[in-house]
Symmetry: C2
Subunit: 187 residues, 2 copies
Amino acid sequence: MHIVAFATGNPRKAEEVRSILRSYDIDVEVVKVRKIEIQDDSIERIAAFSARILARRIGKPLVVEDTGLFIDALKGFPGPYSAYVYRTIGLKGVLKLMEGVEDRHATFVCVVAYCEPGYRPIVFEGRVRGRIADEARGSFGWGYDPIFEPDGYNKTYAEMGVYKNEVSHRAEAFRKFANWYIESKRV
Amino acid sequence: MHIVAFATGNPRKAEEVRSILRSYDIDVEVVKVRKIEIQDDSIERIAAFSARILARRIGKPLVVEDTGLFIDALKGFPGPYSAYVYRTIGLKGVLKLMEGVEDRHATFVCVVAYCEPGYRPIVFEGRVRGRIADEARGSFGWGYDPIFEPDGYNKTYAEMGVYKNEVSHRAEAFRKFANWYIESKRV
């Protein structure tokens, strides 16, 4: 069993990542530190910057994750500021912005940044294309899960239950990380 | 004439600050550097962090400014991410979010952070209370100026012309800075 430090303040996110990594024989140890996140339109740069600083601070390798929902018709909004937008205008606000908007395409992006102290971060990305639902549906997960329908499904993430973890942007990013991590530990 | 380095990529902001500081016999030298801004709900911390890093990088004292429009009914949105929100959903999006909303109160906040290399930043704040207009009006200024009506006026910032610089949140913050700066240079 490998154990990897994971910086997050969201217990549901920690559980989700744990469930994704289980089949790779990797467990996560949650590190509760205040992340320093920069303002940037690229969540890849945000996660990489954060991982580099935190690895140095805690003095061991760790993983940081950043996620954004990028809505085509809103020029990528809420994107890198998805968490802040959720806390303020919420799903109701996002749905209001999408009222009467025909193009409902959106991309859910997750970036995992792994960093060892003093080294450059390595990043892994997962992307899922989908649509913004007309109203919130379902109760699984958190955040934007009730309004995001991945392409090829008539359900929102929140209606998919644990099956979300088979197809999600976060699953894709963490699987890429896990494959690389296990490979690199074999060397 | 005192000259102070001012980090901004917005020429209209530089002009506005120049006009505010003129009567204090202070001129600004625009420094074009990429600001590093953290994600934080407090623009005071964002500006202070940015000033500290940039002062060290350019090796001389400088001023950084951060501004946010905090709308009561939207829990402070767009707040620290006002620039990003303007670039994506724009005034149209903010007005859509405010459709049918009775409480239109908002606060425009400007923080000026002054920092000398290796020292702690000193911050000055200006706040103006007002309302979100029902539609964009006027052409002066930029950003949210056409939808912000300061209390006591029936005009938006964008309708007030240069008179905006007498009453604005930015004027208040830079005047506080200027008074302190001139005092401290006399010692």
